[in-house]
Structures are given as structure tokens and as C-alpha cells.
């Protein structure tokens, strides 16, 4: 570490205010947070503290552990669980501890098994002999005390038993009505929402109070604009605004019920003194001309490279591409056995000898999956070798994607593989002929490019401002690269043509993209920029 006088450790903080039941792992922002933290904790002269409400702790630890960040590498500033939650947890723990014994006794009472006399016999065989004697004594004492309590308080136990029986009876009788009224009345829903908001506000106030009380961490990063409560933090802070995609495609987000969320975002942004976003386009087009913020307030920090190669190695040695493909193939075969056994089109698909393109994304309008499906359908009718598609989004019944796949009978051509593990994700990328990203809008340069390249797969990207601004730095290669890599996202014909070419010339495209891949910083470098920007 060197002399601490020469390299004083700088304390940085990240404030998280996600509400209960937000699946951090599934959120793109959750992944991004994990990348950033993984870079931050590797910085030699930085110490990271993460402040979060108590309900987020377990999810957060799990998410970070998935990305190789153990909990001893960062400090946690969290709120305490309320008393009822603590009681609940203790009861749960006790229940968990008792469960095997209860199970055994219950099955014995039901006559499904014999009392485990063997357990008692073991006491006689114990070595040394006095261990068995003492344990037996202990058991007799416990049994005596339990018997005494039962006799002494039999009335209480009888009443409790009756109450429990009455409760079960009442639940049984009202079961039908409960099922019918599962759709809560709007009034009830509103009341529930109000209660939830109140609880959230209270917890946020407590967390902000804790952040303000401590004086060790004096610079805080608020990684999303969802939490106007964070303005209560009295230390200097920067708010990250990934994007305001709903301003771009408002008819896709026309649910008036989500307007309060938009209002909260606007409130956070308008009150913020310093902001960070991932691209010049978001800065100028959305934050300055969409919200009215000053250009000087906003710093642009692009994404780092997302490497998936770690998920495709055995032990510590780095495999070559051929070996990596074998590992990936194994992962996918295992995935096939577990999840695709009932899918007649894909359960015997040979991953390493077939052409397929891959797009890892959620199913949202602006992700433009429909254009990609149309391109696949065009290729199906025009191309010799079949080129299939693997998507990681859900196939929601009745959605435009679902309808398109059904209407054009594309089940054999399109695989929906939602919720895959990091290994399977890396394997899809590795064995795909191409990664294709037809998105119309992203906060920064799409992650999918580096994810694919890191396991040896080239990408096709939609011709959008966020991609172009990154290419603008590499003018010498830009023309050729643009010609080969970019496509008009609203023109499936163009996309089909580009896919056809790229599948046939995979290696050429990969070579063209090498320079671009190398311009992406590591997450350590990105975290350093974030950390520096907190003190600018």
C-alpha cells in the first residue's frame, strides 16, 4: 500500500434508494452499478461506502458477489431493521432450525416413519461414555421442564390451540371470498400505495440522516435520478442520469399511472447541482434541451468494457478461442437439458455448427426487437443457410413480438432465453455468429459490443447518435467500420443485408472492431473518473 502519507485513502460513497421488491439483478442499472463497484474497489487509494436501506442489503451483496466483489471490500452504511422485522427474522431463523425435528416428529405422528430410536441408542455408544451420559441428562432435563411448563400453563396452551383452530376455520370459510376479491379495489390500492410511500419516505429520511451524521465520507454518488430524497444529503453529491428514454418515445410510455415517477425524476434533476451521464447525446439532447439543465453542470463519463471471458474459463488459465467455444458449448448443452427439453425446435440445436445471431436485451419498444425479427424473417425467405436468432427477453403473450413470432411461425427461428446465468449469457455471445443490437436509444454506447467482442464475437450496431459519437473519435477507421458495422435500425432490409454479409465475413468484421474495442477503458479507469468527478 505504501506510505499512507503519500497516498492518503479517499473515501467515496454511493447512495442507493431502491424501494423494496426492485429486482436489482434484473435491472440494467443494477448490472452497471456492479461493474462500477467492481472497478471502484480495485482502486488502491479509494475506500468505498455504500449507503442503502435495510431491505436492499441482501440483494446488493448477492449482486456484487456475482460480479466478484465480496462484502469485505466495501463498507455498508445501512438502516437498522425495524423491531417487527427483526422479530420476523428471528422467528424465521428459529423455524428454520427447528424444521428438521418438527418434520421428523410430524411424520412419526402420522405414522409415516418410526421414531428414530437409533438416535437414542447412539447415546449408549458415545465415546467418551460421559458425553452420552451428559447428553441424556440434558434431554431428560429439557423434557422435564417442557412437561412442567405444559402442566403449569395448560390453560394458556389450550386457549392458544383453540384460537389457532378458530383462525384456520375462518381462513377456510373465507377462502372463496378471498380469491374472488384478489383484485383489490382502487381505494384499497391507493391506501396501500400511500402506506408504502410513507414507509419509503421514513426509511429514506433515516438513511439520509445517517449519511449526514457521519463525517468520514464527504462525497456521494447517486447512481440514478429516481430518488429526490437524496437531495437531503448535506455533503457534495453528483446525480447520475442514465437517460430519459420516456421523453424520446412517449407513446410507448403512455401509462399515466407512471407520471409520478417522471415527476420524481424531473424533481431530482432540476434540484441537482452536478450531474453525470454516459453520452454527449443524452447530455445535450435530453438534459440540456429536454430538461433545461446547464451544460456546465453535466459531466459525460462513458461506460467501460464489459468482459465476459471470465465466465468461460476453467480454473485460472485463460483458454484460447477454440477451447472457449468448447466450454461455451458445454454450458449451452447443459442449459438445453435443463430449460429447453420441451422445446422441440431448440432442444437438439447444435450451437457450434449453426448460425445464429444474439441480442441480449429486455423487450421494450425502443430496443427495436421487431425490426430484428423482421430481418430474420426476410433472411428466412432469401438466405440459403438458415440464420436464427436468440433473444434474452421474455416472450410476453399478446405483445407485438409474440404476435409477430406466432403470425410468421418463427418458433424454430427465434429462441427466447430469459433470465439466463452469466455463464450461459457468455456462452451465447461466444457461439453466436454475431451480436446484433438494433436499439433506437441507449444512455451510452451499447454494452453488447464489448460483451460480444470480449468472447470473440463481432457486433452489428444500429446507426444512432450514441454509437456515432463514440466512432467520431476514430475517424481513420470510421468509414469502413461504419459501412460494415452500422445499419439503419428502421430498415429491416438493410439489417438483413448486413447480417448476411457479417455472418459470411465474421473474422473481417471482428478485426475491424478491434481498434474500437481497445478504446474502451477498464471499469477501474471509469470508477476513477467517477470518483474524481465527485470532487470537481
Amino acid at each position: 500500500m505504501g506510505n499512507p502519507q503519500e497516498h492518503p485513502v479517499i473515501d467515496d460513497g454511493i447512495f442507493l434508494g431502491y424501494d423494496k421488491n426492485i429486482p436489482l439483478k434484473n435491472e440494467g442499472l443494477g448490472r452497471l452499478l456492479a461493474f462500477l463497484v467492481s472497478g471502484w474497489v480495485r482502486l488502491p487509494d479509494r475506500r468505498l461506502t455504500i449507503a442503502c436501506p435495510y431491505w436492499l442489503v441482501e440483494d446488493l451483496k448477492e449482486l456484487l458477489a456475482d460480479h466478484g466483489v465480496s462484502s469485505d471490500r466495501y463498507e455498508l452504511l445501512r438502516t437498522r431493521e425495524p423491531w417487527y422485522r427483526q422479530v420476523q427474522l428471528r422467528l424465521k431463523a428459529a423455524e428454520r432450525a427447528m424444521r428438521p425435528a418438527v418434520h421428523r416428529i410430524r411424520s412419526w405422528i402420522r405414522g409415516e416413519s418410526f421414531p428414530e430410536v437409533k438416535d437414542f441408542l447412539r447415546l449408549f455408544d458415545a465415546k467418551p461414555w460421559y458425553w452420552g451420559f451428559l447428553t441424556g441428562l440434558k434431554l431428560v432435563a429439557i423434557a422435564a421442564v417442557a412437561l412442567w411448563i405444559l402442566i403449569r400453563f395448560w390453560l394458556v396452551f389450550a386457549l392458544l390451540g383453540m384460537a389457532f383452530a378458530a383462525y384456520r376455520l375462518w381462513r377456510e370459510l373465507t377462502k372463496k371470498r378471498r380469491i374472488q376479491s384478489q383484485q383489490e379495489s382502487p381505494k384499497h390500492q391507493l391506501r396501500k400505495q400511500r402506506r408504502r410511500r410513507k414507509r419509503y419516505a421514513k426509511e429514506m429520511k433515516r438513511l439520509v440522516g445517517q449519511v449526514n451524521e457521519q463525517q468520514v465520507v464527504r462525497n456521494w454518488l447517486i447512481p440514478t435520478p429516481f430518488w429526490p430524497e437524496a437531495h437531503g444529503i448535506s455533503h457534495p453529491k453528483s446525480v447520475v442520469c442514465p437517460d430519459l428514454v420516456l421523453q424520446e418515445f412517449p407513446l410507448r410510455f403512455a401509462d399515466a399511472g407512471s407520471e409520478p415517477i417522471y415527476s420524481r425524476i424531473l424533481h431530482t434533476l432540476l434540484e441537482a447541482q452536478r450531474l453525470i451521464c454516459y453520452s454527449q447525446t443524452v447530455k445535450s439532447h435530453q438534459l440540456v434541451h429536454g430538461v433545461g439543465l446547464a451544460s456546465e453542470q453535466i459531466e459525460v463519463i462513458g461506460h467501460g468494457r464489459v468482459e465476459l471471458s471470465d465466465y468461460l474459463k476453467l480454473g485460472k488459465t485463460i483458454p484460447d478461442q477454440a477451447e472457449r467455444k468448447q466450454i461455451a458449448s458445454e454450458h449451452l448443452r447443459s442449459y438445453q437439458r435443463s430449460f429447453l427439453s420441451s422445446n422441440p425446435y431448440w432442444n437438439r440445436f447444435v450451437w457450434d455448427r449453426s448460425n445464429f445471431v444474439f441480442y441480449s436485451s429486455q423487450a421494450r419498444g425502443q430496443k427495436n426487437i421487431l425490426s430484428l425479427l423482421r430481418a430474420i424473417e426476410i433472411l428466412r425467405h432469401t438466405s440459403g443457410d438458415p440464420i436464427r436468432l436468440v433473444l434474452t427477453c421474455e416472450r410476453t403473450a399478446g405483445s407485438p413480438i409474440d404476435l409477430f413470432v406466432s403470425e410468421h411461425r418463427l418458433d424454430a427461428w427465434v429462441l427466447f432465453a430469459p433470465g439466463v446465468s452469466n455463464q450461459v449469457l457468455a456462452s451465447f455471445y461466444c457461439l453466436a455468429s454475431l451480436a446484433v443490437n438494433p436499439t433506437l436509444f441507449e444512455g451510452g454506447f451499447p454494452f453488447t459490443f464489448t460483451e460480444a467482442y470480449s468472447v470473440g464475437t463481432p457486433s452489428l450496431l444500429s446507426d444512432i447518435a450514441m454509437v456515432r459519437e463514440r466512432l467520431a473519435d476514430r475517424e481513420s477507421e470510421t468509414v469502413r467500420l461504419q459501412e460494415r458495422m452500422l445499419f439503419d435500425p428502421m430498415n429491416p432490409l438493410d439489417l438483413a443485408d448486413k447480417i448476411r454479409w457479417a455472418v459470411a465475413n465474421r473474422e473481417e468484421l471482428l478485426t475491424l472492431q478491434q481498434g474500437l474495442f481497445e478504446t474502451f477503458p477498464t471499469w477501474e479507469q471509469v470508477a476513477k473518473r467517477y470518483s474524481d468527478s465527485l470532487r470537481r
Binding site: L251, F253, A256
Partner: protein, 572 residues
């Protein structure tokens, strides 16, 4: 002929023309006393100023009037000037011709805080926009928060869109402090001053009339005025007084004189021994105490009000309480305490200086000329993306759309090729490079409101349901302007993007249902322009749908592409 001017060929303006444009100001206010000071000031700075000739005649505008004395300063074509003079900026959205004139000839608009006038300027003017503010009288609303209440849902985004060519032009430096960052950051101090016809009376006060001059207009019209009047009567009613100020409804009190002629008013300023100015509002001031200060009349006022905020110290005329005011008025009304009167008169010069021509000229030069007019305004984006959306799936209409796309692409030089929508079903064999399949989907009024807030575009008329294009991807929201083609729609087109309505009657004349007729009328009304290709169609629209002539552009015998591009480029 209007069409001729509208469809003028796009000429890249040279720097001289741009410079001329930057020197032309549209001054969208009609306050008489303000105009008498501010417009000559701008003229002294070498600027040309256009003043509107129509304003709503209501009690809110009792101090407003019209003047054409500055029209001669303008070097714009006479026809354009006449069109501006006939237009009501206060109430009406800008028709295509007004958009063209403003954006072609003027670089800056100074606009009063009135709706929809302010929002129309934000929506349709491409140059610098200055919101001219003099302080609000409301105890809780700020300018921004009140605008959000009264403007369309698109207001926030409209303001944000122009945020680098917008200024909060405050007359007093303390107005911005209660406003959000966007106003604070974009504020410039443009002080107002007293007109020559007032300053010519500087020091004309002689006193001698043992009366308090009090000004309180519209006592019976507004509750606040009535309360002010009653408080004055309670505290000073036993002393001699006159109460001036226009009264739309007559008042029984003989001391309430209503609007008096200027000679009488002038007489009061010369002879009344004292003026009492009641206002405790920290961010609003009326003209009359300033006039009194100019005359040299001692003014007793409340320190909490704007007059008290203008100086660093409490001046002799300032009072913290009404009792203190009464004591000071008692000393002044008899005219015997000459020393006290003199100390007030002398100290008031500190305030007077802030309203003089010299002071204002210097600040306007440094704030307006240097900080506002010298800021370059980006040229309009010539690479706009246009969507062409047919209202029905007929071969004829699809053909029209295709031709329009080609014509616009030919005329618009840098513009991206328009994206042509098609109501056909998608098939792998279709030419998806040249058309995008979509359907018209219905959205509720509640959703529409939210969408307008997100998109930053709204129109005044809206219905409980409306229709919007749905392509399953981005719904053409990535385009800057839509061109809707057809002659009927099942529900009004959702005003979530500016759109042109190209009216092409169906070949087989099937009568419209009542709902279709009404929906088509609303869609036509909300369009940024309605384009027809024959005089007969124009007449149908005027007669059957009540569309104003100003909003209809006839492209008969003209180059369609150029004509459309001319309209499109003036839609910001």
C-alpha cells in the same frame, strides 16, 4: 399573394441579413407607461422594435394601449408588417404566415408573462426569447410554478428546448431568487425607468394640499383591492385623502375619484402633501410611488415591500408597521414638519436613481446588448426527419404519400428522406426500406396529457380519446414533424408532435359520419398548417370545418416540395 410569399425559395441569409434580423425586436407587451420608456430605450440602442396592435380588452389590461409610432423604425416589408398588425399575439397560436414573418425577420422576442402568448412564443419562435417580468403579486406561486398550472402539459419541455436562447428578463434583481434554477441561471437585469413625460416633472412637487394621495384601482372588481382600500380607510380614513385608479365598477366613496385626466393627476402629484404606498409585496411595485418620487413628493411606504428592498438601508419614508406609517403621515400631512419632508425627499433620490434613463441605458447595454443579443443563435436544423402518415389504406393515398416523400426529399437538400408510413400488413416481400408499417391506435385523454408532457408538444383542443400512430417500435416519435395525409379520421389525431394536415379528398365520395366529421375538424384545427391543392378544397375546409383562411395553404400551381419545406422549416 400569400402563397407566393410563403413558398419563397429558401435563401441562405448572409451575415448582413442576420445582423439586421438580430437588431429587430418583437416587444410583446402593451403597457402604456412601460412602452413609453422601454421602446425608446431600445431605439436609442439602435434596435428596431415591433409593438403588437391587438390585445384583449379586459380589466387585466387596463393600463395597456396600442401605439404604431415605432412601426416606421422597421425595415420589414409593408405587407408583413400589416399581417403582424392584424394578428392577436395574446390569444392566437401562430399560423404558418406569422411563423414565417417572425422567424425570417426578427431575432428576438420580448414577451409578457401572459398565456398562451408566452407559450406560443416558446413553441414557434426560433430566436431569442425574453420573458419580461416585473414581480408577481401572488403570495405562493412563482412565475415557473404558476406557468405549470396554466400552460399546457408541454410547457416544461418547451421551455427546456429553448433553454439556451431563453432569458428571464427581470426588472428587479430580487425576482429570480424564488424561481427554479432554469430561471435563475438565465436571468438578466433589465431595469425599467420612468418615461420622459414623467421625468419632465422631476422636482415639481410643491405640496400644500393637506391630503394623502392613495392609488387603488378596481376596488369593486378584485377582493385584494377591496381589502387594501378598507385597510387604508381604517388607518388613514380620518385624514384628508384622494384615491385614484381606474374603477370599472362605480364606488360610492366620494374620495374614490376613479381614473382622472392627466392634468388632475399631475395636480395631485404636485400638491398633495404625502403619498401612502401600501404594498408589502417584496417582489412587486406599482408605477405611482415611483412617479411620486420623481415629482419629489414624500412617499411613506412599507419597508417589507419592493421599495424597501431596493435600498440597502431603511430610508426615512419606510415603515415597519402601519402605526409607524400613520405617525409619519401625521407629521407630513399638515406640511409643518418641513425638515422631515425634506429628509424623505432627499433620501428618495437613492431610489429615483434606479429608475433614471442613464441607469437603465447602461444596464440594458451591458445586459441586453452584450449578454443577450451577442449570443449566437444556432441556425435551424436542416436535417429534420419527417414522417408521412396516411389516414387510410388506399392505393391513391399511398401513392400521394410516396410522391410527397420524393418531392420533399428533392427540395429539402439536407433533410433525411421522409419516413413513409403504410397501413398495409408487413410482409417479408415488401420494400421495408421505403415504408414503415403502422396502425392508428386509440389513446385516452389522460394518457394524452402525460404523453404531451413527455413529448413537449400540445394543442389547445383535445378530446377524451384520440389516435396516434403505432408501429410497435417508436411510433414515429423520433421524427420532428408528421405530415398527415387524407380527408377523415375516426378520432382526433393526438397532438403530440407538430403535424401538417394535407387534405386530399377521397376519390369515392363517401359521406363522413358525425364522429368522423367532428374528429376531422379537431385534427384540422390542431394542425400546424393545413395544405390543400385546389381552391375548391380550401372552400370546403373554410365552409364545412370552420378553418381560418390563415391556416390553409394552397399549393395549386406551385412546387409542392418547396412549399412544404418552407412551412416545415418554420416549425421549430
Amino acid at each position: 399573394m400569400r402563397q407566393g410569399t410563403l413558398c419563397r425559395r429558401w435563401i441562405f441569409m448572409d451575415s448582413q441579413v442576420n445582423q439586421r434580423k438580430d437588431q429587430r425586436i418583437v416587444w410583446l407587451l402593451n403597457h402604456t407607461t412601460l412602452r413609453e420608456f422601454e421602446v425608446p430605450l431600445m431605439r436609442r440602442l439602435g434596435l428596431e422594435v415591433y409593438c403588437p396592435k391587438r390585445f384583449p380588452r379586459n380589466p387585466d389590461n387596463r393600463s395597456a394601449s396600442v401605439s404604431d409610432e415605432f412601426d416606421s423604425s422597421l425595415t420589414i416589408p409593408q405587407g408583413d408588417l400589416e399581417r403582424l398588425n392584424a394578428f392577436d399575439f395574446y390569444s392566437d397560436a401562430y399560423p404558418p404566415e406569422i411563423r414565417r414573418i417572425l422567424n425570417e425577420h426578427f431575432g428576438t422576442v420580448i414577451v409578457a408573462y401572459m398565456f398562451p402568448m408566452f407559450e406560443n412564443a416558446l413553441a414557434d419562435f426560433r430566436g431569442r426569447i425574453l420573458l419580461r417580468v416585473f414581480g408577481s403579486t401572488h403570495p405562493t406561486y412563482t412565475y415557473y410554478s404558476f406557468a405549470r398550472e396554466v400552460a399546457t402539459p408541454a410547457f416544461e419541455r418547451r421551455l427546456a428546448r429553448v433553454s439556451d436562447r431563453f432569458w428571464f428578463a427581470q426588472a428587479y434583481p430580487n425576482l429570480k431568487w424564488i424561481e427554479p434554477q432554469i430561471f435563475q441561471r438565465r436571468s438578466v437585469d433589465l431595469p425599467l425607468g420612468l418615461a420622459d413625460r414623467i421625468t419632465m416633472h422631476q422636482g415639481a412637487w410643491t405640496g400644500g394640499d393637506r391630503k394623502i394621495l392613495f392609488v387603488c384601482p378596481e376596488i369593486e372588481t378584485y377582493d385584494e383591492s377591496k381589502q387594501i382600500y378598507q385597510e387604508f380607510k381604517e388607518s388613514f380614513g380620518d385624514l384628508g385623502h384622494v384615491i385614484c385608479g381606474a374603477q370599472s365598477k362605480p364606488h360610492t366613496d366620494t374620495a374614490v375619484l376613479g381614473k382622472v385626466d392627466s392634468a388632475t393627476y399631475d395636480g395631485f402629484f404636485r400638491t398633495c402633501n404625502v403619498m401612502f404606498y401600501h404594498s408589502r409585496l417584496p417582489r412587486h411595485i406599482h408605477y405611482h410611488p415611483l412617479e411620486a418620487i420623481c415629482y419629489g413628493m414624500p412617499v411613506v411606504y412599507m419597508q417589507q415591500g419592493m421599495l424597501g428592498q431596493l435600498t440597502d438601508r431603511k430610508l426615512p419614508g419606510a415603515c415597519d408597521t402601519i402605526q409607524e406609517a400613520r405617525e409619519k403621515v401625521d407629521r407630513l400631512i399638515e406640511g409643518k414638519d418641513k425638515g422631515f419632508a425634506e429628509s424623505i425627499r432627499e433620501s428618495q433620490q437613492e431610489i429615483y436613481r434606479l429608475f433614471t434613463k442613464d441607469y437603465a441605458d447602461a444596464l440594458w447595454q451591458s445586459e441586453f446588448i452584450e449578454k443577450v443579443l451577442k449570443v449566437d443563435i444556432p441556425e435551424p436544423d436542416s436535417t429534420r426527419r419527417i414522417a408521412i402518415l396516411p389516414l387510410a389504406s388506399t392505393r391513391a393515398l399511398e401513392g400521394h404519400c410516396k410522391r410527397l416523400s420524393d418531392q420533399i426529399a428533392e427540395s429539402s437538400r439536407d433533410a433525411k428522406k421522409p419516413r413513409v408510413g403504410s397501413l398495409e400488413r408487413w410482409t417479408p416481400a415488401m420494400d421495408t426500406g421505403s415504408k414503415t408499417c403502422f396502425v392508428w391506435k386509440v389513446i385516452s385523454g389522460e394518457s394524452l396529457r402525460y404523453v404531451q408532457r413527455l413529448s413537449g408538444h400540445a394543442a389547445s383542443a383535445s378530446e377524451s380519446v384520440s389516435i396516434a400512430p403505432d408501429d410497435g417500435i417508436c411510433d414515429f416519435m423520433d421524427c420532428d414533424v408528421w405530415i398527415v395525409v387524407g380527408d377523415r379520421c375516426s378520432a382526433p389525431i393526438a397532438p403530440v408532435k407538430p403535424y401538417l394536415f394535407i387534405y386530399i379528398p377521397a376519390e369515392a365520395a363517401v359521406a363522413l359520419s358525425t364522429t368522423q366529421h367532428r374528429s376531422t375538424a379537431i385534427s384540422l384545427q390542431n394542425a400546424a398548417a393545413v395544405v390543400v391543392s385546389s381552391q375548391a378544397d380550401r372552400e370546403v375546409l373554410v365552409r364545412e370545418y370552420g378553418i381560418s383562411q390563415d391556416w390553409i395553404v394552397n399549393i395549386e400551381n406551385q412546387s409542392t416540395g418547396e412549399c412544404l419545406w418552407e412551412i416545415l422549416k418554420n416549425i421549430p
